[in-house]
């Protein structure tokens, strides 16, 4: 599925060149959960971002090859990259709250990726069910626009009143009136095909009450729900591969387990490949089939999970294993996923 060959990525900083990746080799097969572990700063995130070219401007890929399903995408054009991002590879991040746009609703954010990668599907659904394709009154969902107009109207009215010319304020009063009435007139807006697809994507990640969640803003959701929304978003474009960059680090323990279980379930259902980045060997033991250990920008060991735990080769891997607290594996025993609403 994905192959990385001798990848080297540098950062140009004021203090000189930082060699974040110094020859990384990885190979992830179809339908495999692949773990990437390593201490903080070892270059795990940079590896993930290099694949999708999500690096900051100061970074530069200086050598190596990235091969996706046999296609060399190291020097892919911007257009091809955009197809891959979200369409073929989805990615989720460590801190879901900061990874979601705070001023857009879940509906808009998930909808966006559907429009980009599933447009044909949406149109088909709309045609079959004879409903509108997109939301018919888009600006209603953005209170920003609505209230900006309202505030402008109010200020004009007050200004005209101040100079004793109330009549000039009347048109603005009229606009405000219409905006209030509109809420009543538009109660019966039919759901669009896009809405339905968003709700479907949200229910796929086992979110309770997806309709209500779709209309909320990220800060109104719990950490677990936010990460589920992120996963829903990453997969909405029917990506065949998911990169999860420490998806559970920012969550507390029980929710961590639920999210990992969710990733496993979805992986099985869709036969996806997953690159799971973590610094927790316990997580790797529970979830992955193969694992690579990273240290200072290099892969120092790559093996199946069993091998790593029973017969570690590299000194650093041994050190990592010793650092796991006794019973660490037991602690992470995945509990039965209960009502998702309990999150």
């Amino acid at each position: 599925m994905l192959e990385i060959k001798d990848l080297k990525t540098n950062f140009n900083t004021y203090d000189g060149v930082v060699k974040a990746l110094d020859g990384v080799n990885l190979s992830i097969k179809d339908g495999e959960i692949f773990g990437l572990v390593g201490e903080t700063g070892s270059g795990k995130s940079v590896t993930a971002y290099s694949v999708l070219k999500l690096l900051p401007k100061t970074a530069e890929i200086v050598a190596g090859k990235i091969i996706l399903n046999g296609e060399d995408i190291t020097d892919a054009t911007e257009d091809r990259l955009r197809q891959i991002r979200g369409g073929e590879i989805g990615i989720i991040f460590q801190d879901p709250l900061s990874a979601l746009n705070p001023v857009m609703t879940v509906n808009e954010q998930v909808g966006e990726i559907l429009v980009l990668h599933q447009d044909a599907e949406i149109n088909k659904l709309a045609y079959e069910k004879e409903i509108p394709v997109y939301k018919s009154e888009k600006w209603k969902s953005s209170p920003g626009v609505e209230f900006t107009i309202m505030a402008i109207c109010i200020s004009f009215i007050s200004l005209f009143t101040m100079i004793g010319q109330f009549t000039f304020g009347l048109p603005f009063l009229f606009v405000i009136g219409i905006m209030f009435l509109r809420d009543y007139l538009q109660k019966e807006v039919p759901e669009s095909a896009l809405d339905l697809m968003v709700i479907e994507a949200l229910s796929r990640v086992k979110l309770p009450n997806p309709k209500q969640i779709a209309s909320s803003y990220p800060h109104e959701l719990s950490g677990g729900m936010q990460q589920r929304v992120m996963i829903a978003m990453a997969l909405a474009g029917k990506a065949k591969m998911l990169i999860a960059d420490e998806p559970t680090t920012a969550l507390d323990v029980t929710i961590q387990a639920q999210i990992l279980q969710l990733i496993k379930d979805i992986q099985k259902e869709e036969n996806m490949s997953v690159l799971l980045i973590t610094h927790d060997l316990g997580v790797v033991a529970e979830t992955c089939e193969k694992v690579a250990v990273m240290y200072k920008g290099k892969i120092v060991e790559e093996a199946s999970v069993d091998q790593i735990f029973t017969n570690p080769q590299h000194e650093y891997t041994k050190a990592l294993l010793n650092a796991i607290p006794k019973g660490g594996k037991e602690r992470l025993k995945v509990p039965e996923i209960g009502e998702a609403g309990a999150i």
Partner: protein, 749 residues
């Protein structure tokens, strides 16, 4: 529903601030000369005089006078303006439309160009597009508004002699040739209502120049804000998420980046509005625009008190309303804002008492006086009980009391004249104190030192910062070496007075630059030309740098002193102390700076340069204080401060050893920038004819001498002194900007 509660709450909270503003304007009116003056003529008989006294309540006790004043304010009985022979409230209504038309157009132009430019600049960060936009923005902040206006006027008189560069409309055309009905006094709207294209064009033609001038300053601020916010937002995680979805670069920038960057920009638009009010004073004066600003200046020049107070109060009203709208807008733009937010008991108490006070005032003055006194006494009582209780429980905190009385003493000594000595001495003592406890301080400061080392390294690499440093150093050396660069004449007693410079002066001389010959003699060899009164412009610029330096250093030093003490204590303790300090700064900030400074100078009738300094200090300290307070708030949560607290260090030690040295970055940046900002204000005041004698060597004054010569094509007398102001401000802004960019870790890349 929540929405309306939020709006109502914000509305209610403005009432105490407005009350505070009336207290300031009342103090201004109380501190000034004869309140009867506007009504008295030669023909007034003593009996009439007494009746007047009776009617205006001049002999009433101060509290009665205040309440009467308050009632007059809320019933829109704002007195009589003698310069225009009109009731103030009527005048406000007539002139407001003119000012509003100008400001709205300027605001639209400013926001409409600044936001795209800011966004563009941020996505081209550190490329030539970015550099030129930044320079353009910086110039907008540094170029004095009045100089830019004169420049445009000069340019248009030379190139388009038919273009009327003053006024709002061609009166002959509007009133005689082709009269149309003026209903709203928004001329553009009236022209449209009358369906007359020529009128519309004429009004627009008159609007363009002043609107451009007014817009430029605000535009500069908004560009810088928007650019900074955009850079901040583009580094956020959700931008990476947006990219990972497969959106194009443009979609990411405009759909995900811009709306988020707009949020903090909008919160500062209210301040931009204050800038417009300040600017309109100057713009309207220069373009003889029949609006509020021009009227206020005329009033100030002839001590028309009711007009001055009314204008001050009205500007504060406008500013508060603008901020109210901005706050509401902000709540709508950002879904994260808690609309619910619960009011504290103290807040509700203050608001309801203020409303009650207004109501009672409206009903009966006597009751209101008693009511007000009662509130005041109980507040003082409650305050002392609270303070007493706190001190009883933590006797260590006694030092705050000393500190505040110390600050009060310093402020009083500022007013009595020998303040610089005190400030230099206390700064010196503080530095000694830091040196004495160096070991403790060093620990917390270690990262700061690295930052400074990095800063020095980066300053060397940033050409703009080098340019700033060069400008600042050259202007400082001009000030220091003035006696050698422009030796005063032998008969001159005071080198700062240009009138004394030569006994015999030629006026209107063009500059001769480096070719001034010896045989033409000193009298007609003016390196940079001479003014209409024969003042040597070169001499004025050289010695004017001393005035600027003097005022800037004193104001910045004193302002920083007050701000650092009050801000650090307020931010460090938080709670009640903080609340009170913040409400006081609220009131001061509500009055646009230039307007307040002008009002103070005009009303005290003291046109000395010292008075100008005091007024600038009064205007400047609240802004400073807020920044320092915000820093202190942030710093007190840092781990090692908590550690010091846990280790039992006293608050006094923590504030002076840890909090203050940690604010040093912000203090340096603000102080550097304000060295420029204060000279801009000084020059603006000087240009309007305030501060120091008429022949004091001061850049703003020199520019004003050249104002009338523009029509004659004499450009040198406004150009060179204005250039000096601009270079001074540009130098300090570049330097401050450079230092901030470097010391602010967020900007690093």
């Amino acid at each position: 529903m929540k929405l309306w509660i939020y709006v109502l709450r914000r509305l209610a909270l403005t009432i105490p601030v407005l009350l505070g503003v009336t207290i300031i304007t009342f103090c201004l009116s109380y501190g000034m000369g004869d309140p009867l003056a506007p009504y008295v003529t030669e023909k007034t008989t003593p009996e009439q005089y007494e009746i007047l006294e009776e009617k205006l309540g001049v002999n009433d006790p101060i509290q009665v006078q205040y309440v009467t004043y308050l009632r007059n304010v809320i019933t829109f009985d704002w007195g009589y303006s003698k310069v225009i022979n009109q009731d103030v409230s009527e005048a406000l209504r007539d002139k407001f439309a003119a000012t509003l038309e100008l400001s709205i157009l300027a605001f639209i132009v400013a926001v409409g160009t600044a936001i795209p430019l800011g966004i563009f600049s941020s996505i081209r960060q550190n490329r030539w597009e970015d550099h030129s936009i930044r320079l353009f923005a910086l110039a907008g902040s540094a170029i004095p508004i009045f100089w830019f206006a004169l420049f445009l006027q000069y340019f248009f008189t030379i190139n388009f002699p038919d273009w009327e560069i003053v006024g709002r409309r061609d009166i002959l055309f509007w009133e005689i040739t082709d009269p149309i009905e003026i209903k709203t006094n928004f001329l553009l709207i009236d022209a449209i209502a009358a369906g007359s294209w020529p009128h519309f064009l004429d009004a627009l033609k008159h609007l363009i120049l002043p609107a451009t001038v007014l817009a430029y300053g605000s535009m500069a601020t908004i560009i810088r804000l928007m650019r900074g916010n955009m850079l901040d937002v583009l580094g956020q995680d959700y931008i990476r998420t947006a990219k990972s979805k497969g959106l194009t670069e443009n979609q990411v920038t405009y759909k995900h980046g811009a709306p988020n960057a707009m949020i903090p920009t909008v919160t500062l638009l209210g301040m931009g509005f204050a800038g417009l009010i300040n600017g309109s004073v100057l713009t309207e004066t220069i373009f003889t625009w029949p609006g509020l600003g021009a009227w206020a200046i005329t009033a100030m020049r002839s001590l028309d008190v009711s007009a001055i107070l009314a204008y001050t109060l009205f500007s504060a009203f406008l500013y508060i309303i603008a901020n109210l709208i901005v706050d509401i807008l902000y709540a709508f733009l950002d879904p994260r804002v808690e609309l619910g937010g619960h009011s504290s008991i103290a807040e509700m108490l203050v608001v309801s008492l203020s409303i009650l006070m207004l109501l009672v005032t409206f009903l009966s003055i006597n009751v209101a006086v008693w009511f007000g006194l009662l509130i005041l006494i109980s507040l003082i009582f409650l305050g002392s009980v609270a303070i007493g209780k706190r001190l009883w429980e933590n006797p260590d905190d006694l030092w705050i009391v000393f500190l505040f009385s110390g600050t009060l003493f310093v402020v009083l000594s500022i007013l009595s004249g020998f303040f610089m000595t005190i400030i230099y001495v206390s700064t010196f003592v503080y530095i000694l104190y830091l040196g004495y406890s160096w070991k403790d301080v060093k620990e917390g400061l270690a990262p700061k030192f690295d930052e400074f080392k990095r800063a020095v390294y980066q300053i060397k690499r940033n050409p703009l910062t080098i340019l700033g440093l060069f400008l600042v150093l050259s202007l400082l050396s001009i000030a220091i070496f003035a006696p050698w660069l422009a030796p005063p004449s032998e008969t001159q007693r005071d080198p700062m007075r240009m009138e004394e410079h030569f006994e015999f002066n030629y006026n209107h001389q063009p500059p001769c630059y480096f070719s001034c010959t010896a045989e033409s003699g000193e009298e007609d060899g003016y390196i940079l030309g001479s003014t209409d009164r024969g003042y040597d412009i070169y001499y004025g610029i050289v010695w004017g740098s001393r005035t600027s330096l003097d005022v800037a250093v004193k104001v910045v030093f004193t302002g920083t002193f007050i701000a650092v003490v009050i801000g650090a204590v307020s931010g460090y303790y938080g709670g009640r102390v903080d609340d009170i300090v913040m409400r006081i700064t609220d009131v001061f900030i509500a009055i646009p700076g230039l307007v307040l400074a002008l009002a103070i100078i005009a009303v005290t009738g003291d046109n000395s340069i010292e008075m100008l300094m005091y007024s600038l200090i009064i205007v400047w300290w609240p802004g400073f204080t807020r920044v320092i307070r915000a820093e202190a708030l942030r710093i007190r949560k840092l781990p090692y401060i908590e550690a010091a607290k846990a280790a039992g260090a006293s608050d006094f030690r923590i504030i002076f050893k840890h909090v203050l040295p940690n604010c040093i970055t912000s203090i340096i940046v603000i102080a550097t920038m304000d060295m420029g900002g204060i000279v801009l204000s000084l020059a603006a005041l000087g240009f309007l004819g305030f501060g120091g004698g008429a022949d004091l060597a001061e850049w703003g004054k020199l520019v004003s001498f050249g104002q009338d010569d523009i029509l004659k094509g004499e450009w040198w007398s406004f150009f060179f002194p204005g250039l000096a102001v601009a270079l001074w401000a540009l130098g300090f802004y570049l330097l401050g900007d450079g230092v901030r960019d470097i010391l602010d870790p967020k900007q690093r890349n």
